[in-house]
């Protein structure tokens, strides 16, 4: 390529202005323990390809790329900010084929300036470092701070920036399996990353023997994708041998079953569409979906989380005829962020880097899409080092008459939104395997980077198309890409697809790659023939690409063409029903150990400080503030509440319609610490926690639905699967009594990590329960911050000796087999009566007791409200009655609340709670002190609330 055609423009922040990128790199180096970096400069670099006049170059630099007030630019030269022999310069650029959003926007901006002739653009970042930095330190800085080699590399002088266009290549590939023996079949599965087991390969072999032909590569890939754990949930819907019995479809026997038995009229669509739908008001329903994006986030935290939230937003967009996304949620599990780099297993990114990347990824996608991120939580545990968990959820608002799709033969199939590239090949099948030390390199194809603006344009246009009735069916391209989207949507009719028509990001993709690519921001719609013209015009008017790629048929086959050649043909019946059902063994044995006895410490203030500052309890404000939680204008209760808007709210409340006070409450429950000790208790605790949070802010059980997201280790191992059976049964038992149906769910299995010496580390069994509730009047909401001195404080619920997995025992290095359980009937009574008390406006503040128990809950209420509290412990309802004060204060028993009531409402409030365990335990005070007196009148805790607050805030104040 003629170098003359490449223009390089470099920008620097003017002296006196804050260069945040450089500062982040500098403090990041310090985090790595590198002390030699004295100063860092960062530069934004743009490469442009094409014949550009000198004046146009200046025009582009001045009027488009640079900000005159804060930046300077150089054309075809580098800034020399430093003249020092201890100077090191390094430039980072995206790998070939990775989405470069800014470059795409730059091209548009250049066209807007009236400049033609720029054919391509690419962006890069350059850094100047000053300091005597050793080569090994430089390596660390590059690999651990500046780039992720999965998507980026260091620019080498003279390297090719723009590649010549590749030719479209076409070669029909058959895979010979008809005569393959078992070894050969397994080899094919392994070499092609199909993740199909022998039995599955043999079923495929027999199928093609019946057809008397070899399969093509794309047919095998389509089967592998459709039959992947990610798309078919074959473990949870398969056969499980447990306790001498065969469970035929665990989901059907637990989660689905309870929903069907409860048979709530307000459940509109459950477990069949991309998200579960419940009634909201006369005009609208709401839908909710939570997904995980664990494997991609482990490899590339920013891109993985970015596309995780981007992907789950497309679920409501692809539900019914499309919902408007209105709220995001996100829940993360990471390894400990204070772990030493030297203690990390090989191939694992540092948890702090994972967390920063994940948060930035969710932030940049959610904020740009204009969707408030209003609920979430973060959990830390060593066993998430190799397998961080990234749960992303989205709620959508959908008109009541747009909740069903119609699939008929003869409709046009359109792909709309983003273009197809090589990104995300094998994402669906890869999630069926374990991560290992070489994951970064071997699965780089599975990494994706999102472009939220493409998705925002897409949703804006789709909602107009929906309201104009321009399509009859819609779904998203997620895992498995077009293969999964069209394969599922056209299951009842059949479809023909012209793969050469699919718009591509770049040339050179094979038909197989086009079919299974997981490129982001794409949706598929089925358009009636008489609406095609209007649909294409509408999409064009909003700069959204829409392309006809096929038609629905009536022969229940999927047929793929590349130009005139048929490259794949498959019976829908075999594709969707042909998967053999493997029997998996499951067993569960409760761990047994004896508890060590220890003396009660005389003073507990120190322990309260430690609990408040522990990573799982401490303030997550650093994360929350980076999310826009106000956009769309309907925020009623924010994630941060209290006098200074920085206390931990129990749940979020949002008004989806600005002309109404009807609202949606969102909450979640997550208790991985109980997972290994007692998965049943873990599951019921998570449900209890999610529901407690709904009740605490003013919701009720009557209009509350649940979502389940199981993240587990390798369930081919019986002990892992045994825990899963327990947890699923717990979901049934709890939901049945609470009458809170499950409406959607998803599982992510195989979250294990192979270390160098072959050991497999599994994550703790982790069930996320998300709850969504419809609230009649948002003006009845209650926050958790103390409101007024003189008010009375109550405990509601029974405190048990349940210290297994508790923060207090963890601090002391102890453990217990007594994990918090739930008495369903009692819990239901408490939920309903407390909810009624709040509905009658008897309650001024309410907070659930969770991690850190009563002590942490009261402390949080006090410092969030800016008032003190005095508590006496003698009449707290407890079992056994002789339980020690420290246990009572820090036990994490379920179904408990601390409630603030005005003296005037004392009687009315107590009447409401008459049938529940409760007690008046203290008062709100005007002094800024939390004072807790033990059952003998001795002072157990006496501390300034703002000192407690500092402990709670300091840990993650990054």
């Amino acid at each position: 390529m003629d170098l003359q055609l490449i223009t390089r423009i470099e920008l620097v922040t003017k002296p006196g202005f804050y260069d945040s990128e450089a500062q982040n790199v500098k403090s990041g180096a310090k985090d790595l323990g590198i002390r030699s970096v004295e100063k860092v400069y960062s530069y934004d670099v743009s490469y442009l390809l094409g014949e550009i006049s000198k004046e146009d170059k200046i025009k582009i630099a001045e009027n488009l790329l640079s900000d005159k007030v804060t930046q300077e630019y150089l054309i075809d030269k580098q800034f020399e900010m430093v003249h020092s022999k201890d100077h090191w310069s390094v430039e980072i650029i995206f790998n070939r084929g990775v989405t470069d959003m800014v470059a795409e926007t730059t091209l548009k901006g250049i066209t807007d300036l009236g400049i033609s002739g720029v054919r391509e653009a690419k962006t890069a970042r350059r850094y100047d470092f000053i300091g005597r930095i050793s080569d090994s330190e430089k390596n660390q800085i590059v690999e651990k701070l500046l780039m992720n080699k999965v998507i980026e590399h260091v620019v080498v002088p003279g390297e090719t920036i723009f590649f010549p266009k590749m030719e479209d290549r076409f070669e029909l590939v058959h895979v010979p399996i008809l005569n393959a023996d078992t070894d050969a079949l397994l080899n094919i599965s392994r070499e092609r990353d199909l993740f199909l087991n022998l039995e599955e390969m043999q079923v495929i072999q027999n199928h093609f023997r019946g057809l008397d032909r070899e399969p093509t590569d794309v047919e095998l890939e389509m089967l592998a994708q459709t039959w992947s754990e990610h798309c078919s949930h074959k473990t949870l819907t398969g056969l499980i041998e447990y306790d001498g019995n065969i469970i035929d479809n665990l989901l059907k026997n637990t989660i689905f079953k309870v929903t069907s038995e409860l048979n709530k009229s307000w459940c509109v669509s459950v477990f069949k569409d991309n998200a579960g739908i419940i009634e909201f008001d006369d005009d609208y329903n709401v839908c909710f979906k939570v997904e995980t994006h664990n494997h991609p986030s482990a490899m590339e935290p920013y891109g993985g989380a970015n596309t995780g939230i981007g992907g789950v937003i497309r679920d409501p967009m692809g539900t019914g005829l499309g919902a408007k996304p209105i709220i995001n949620t996100d829940i993360f599990c990471f390894g400990p962020v204070d772990i030493k780099h030297s203690d990390l297993p090989k191939g694992v990114l540092h948890p702090k880097r994972v967390m920063q990347g994940v948060v930035a990824g969710v932030r940049d996608y959610g904020n740009r899409m204009g969707i408030p991120t209003s609920n979430g939580s973060i959990f830390f545990d060593e066993r998430y080092l190799g397998n961080p968990l990234v749960y992303c959820g989205n709620v959508g608002l959908i008109p009541v008459d747009k909740c069903e799709k119609t699939i008929v033969p003869g409709d046009y199939i359109l792909v709309v939104g983003g273009r197809t590239g090589r990104d995300g090949i094998h994402g669906a099948t890869a999630s069926s395997g374990e991560l290992h030390t070489e994951s970064e390199g071997t699965w780089s194809g599975a990494v994706q980077i999102g472009n939220p603006i493409v998705e925002k344009k897409l949703v804006d246009t789709l909602l107009q198309a929906r309201d104009s009735g321009l399509y009859r069916a819609i779904t998203d391209c997620g895992a498995g890409g077009l293969s999964s989207a069209i394969g599922e949507l056209a299951e009842t009719t059949g479809a023909e697809v012209q793969l050469d028509k699919v718009p591509l990001k770049y040339h050179g993709l094979t038909y197989m790659e086009i079919w299974i690519s997981e490129a982001q921001e794409r949706m598929v719609i089925f358009v009636p023939p008489d609406k095609v013209k209007d649909a294409l015009e509408l999409f064009a008017s909003e700069d959204v690409e829409a392309t006809i790629i096929g038609k629905t048929t009536s022969d229940k086959k999927i047929r793929l063409f590349y130009k005139d050649t048929i490259v794949g043909e498959m019976d829908m019946q075999f594709l969707h029903k042909g998967l053999p059902r493997t029997i998996r063994k499951a067993k569960w044995e409760k761990p047994e150990f004896t508890e060590e006895k220890f003396e009660q410490p005389a003073e507990l203030t120190e322990y309260l400080h430690k609990i408040l500052s522990s990573p799982n309890v401490c303030s997550k404000e650093w994360v929350i503030r980076q999310y826009d939680h106000e956009v769309q204008g309907g925020s009623v209760m924010k994630p941060l509440v209290g006098e200074k808007n920085d206390g931990p709210g129990d749940a979020s409340i949002t008004r989806p319609r600005l002309d109404s006070f009807k609202a949606v409450i969102l909450s979640n429950g997550l208790n991985p610490k109980y997972g290994l000790l007692d998965p049943y208790a873990m599951a019921v605790s998570s449900i209890d926690e999610a529901l407690r949070n709904i009740i605490a802010v003013g919701g009720n059980l009557k209009r509350t639905a649940l979502l389940d997201n199981f993240c587990w280790g390798n369930t081919n191992k019986p002990d892992r699967l045994g825990g899963l059976v327990q947890a699923a049964q717990a979901c049934y038992d709890a939901a049945k009594v609470f009458e809170t149906p499950f409406i959607s769910g998803k599982d992510s299995l195989n979250n294990e990590y192979q270390t160098e010496n072959g050991e497999s580390i599994a994550i703790p069994p982790t069930l996320l329960i998300s709850a969504i509730s419809v609230m009649e009047d948002a003006r009845k909401a209650v926050t958790m911050d103390l409101k007024e001195p003189g008010n009375l404080l109550y405990i509601v619920g029974l405190t048990n000796y349940e210290m297994g997995g508790s923060h207090y025992f963890e601090l002391l290095g102890k453990n217990s087999v007594s994990v918090p359980q739930v008495n369903f009937e009692r819990a239901k009574k408490i939920f309903n009566d407390l909810s009624s008390a709040i509905d009658h406006n008897y309650v001024r503040s309410c907070h659930d007791c969770s991690e850190g128990g009563i002590a942490a809950a009261v402390a949080e209420m006090a410092f969030s409200g800016g008032f003190g509290a005095t508590l006496a412990m003698n009449n707290i309802p407890k079992n056994p009655m002789n339980m020690r004060d420290d246990i009572v204060l820090f036990s994490e028993s379920n179904t408990r609340f601390i409630v603030e009531v005005t003296p005037e409402n004392k009687k009315l409030y107590e009447e409401k709670l008459a049938d529940c365990p409760f007690a008046e335990i203290g008062k709100v005070t005007g002094e800024q002190k939390l004072i807790i007196k033990g059952s003998n009148g001795n002072i157990l805790i006496n501390e300034d609330i703002y000192i407690l607050k500092e402990s709670w805030q300091k840990t993650l104040r990054w």
């Binding site: 926007t105 603006i453 106000e630 204008g633 925020s635 509440v641 002309d659 926050t783 409101k787």
Partner: protein, 258 residues
């Protein structure tokens, strides 16, 4: 006459619905219009009295916040916008819309040929932040803040909101013409520092108008405080009246009714 409001959309606008709701609630008739429709002249700017550029991340803020949309206004719609302004009409830009106005040449004075003299640069905190802030409203020509005599409480949500004038001359001219409409203020009467000034803006400036008072740009979001339940302190202080933001939109509508 009920004034007509054009809320301008582009790829990545995302506060368009609530901005429309605000104007409609204030008594206007509001349309959401994609910039492509103005560029193609399918929609005539002439038929509107108020132009609102809402918050969001137009074109991803990919090069810098609001830059691409600003260039579209500056290089492709300048004539129409000049006429709109000369006809005595109103323009408001909120958050990303404010960034667009200063980069297009609609603030601090309406002059598409002028060099950009103000920018909204990266927050001093180095990151996107969503938080509620208190705003002092200065006396001056601004149409949108007429008769507002109290401290306002709005959320900000941005990564690039630090108000920076090119030099002292620019700042002095803003002061002389009473163009500084909103300044961040500490609720405790003390010096206004981070986080009360959430981004490090020079002189705590949160919003400015042109010398006529008919073009307003501000970083905080009045359209996110239309109802008292938006106020994060409502469970402490109770619900009464309307949200602080509604008055701005009512003032704009009333400008054409009186």
């Amino acid at each position: 006459m009920v004034p007509k409001v054009l809320v301008l959309r582009a790829a990545g606008s995302n506060c368009d619905f609530e901005t429309k709701f605000a104007f409609d609630k204030a008594g206007a008739q509001t349309d959401l219009v994609h910039v492509n429709r103005l560029l193609s002249d399918d929609t005539k700017l002439d038929q509107y009295q108020i132009l609102a550029i809402p918050g969001g991340f137009t074109y991803g803020d990919d090069i810098s916040a609001g830059k691409i949309l600003a260039n579209q206004l500056k290089y492709k719609l300048a004539e129409k916008l000049n006429k709109f302004y000369r006809d005595g009409k109103l323009i408001i830009g909120i958050c990303n819309g404010f960034q667009v106005l200063v980069k297009a040449g609609l603030l601090p004075v309406v002059d598409f040929m002028a060099e950009q003299s103000i920018t909204l640069s990266n927050n001093d905190s180095g990151k996107f932040e969503d938080r509620w802030i208190y705003l002092n409203v200065n006396d001056g020509p601004c149409v949108f803040t007429r008769d507002i005599k109290k401290i306002l409480y709005f959320p900000v949500a941005h990564a690039e909101g630090k108000f920076v004038p090119n030099d002292e001359t620019v700042l002095n001219s803003l002061k002389e013409n009473n163009q500084i409409v909103f300044q961040y203020i500490s609720p405790h009467n003390g010096k206004t520092e981070y986080p009360d000034n959430p981004n490090g803006s020079i002189e705590n400036i949160a919003g400015i108008c042109d010398p006529s008072g008919r073009v307003l740009g501000l970083m905080p979001h009045p359209e996110r405080h239309l109802d008292p339940t938006n106020n994060p302190l409502w469970t402490r202080k109770g619900l009464s009246g309307e949200g602080d933001g509604l008055k701005l939109f009512k003032n704009a509508v009333n400008y054409f009714l009186s």
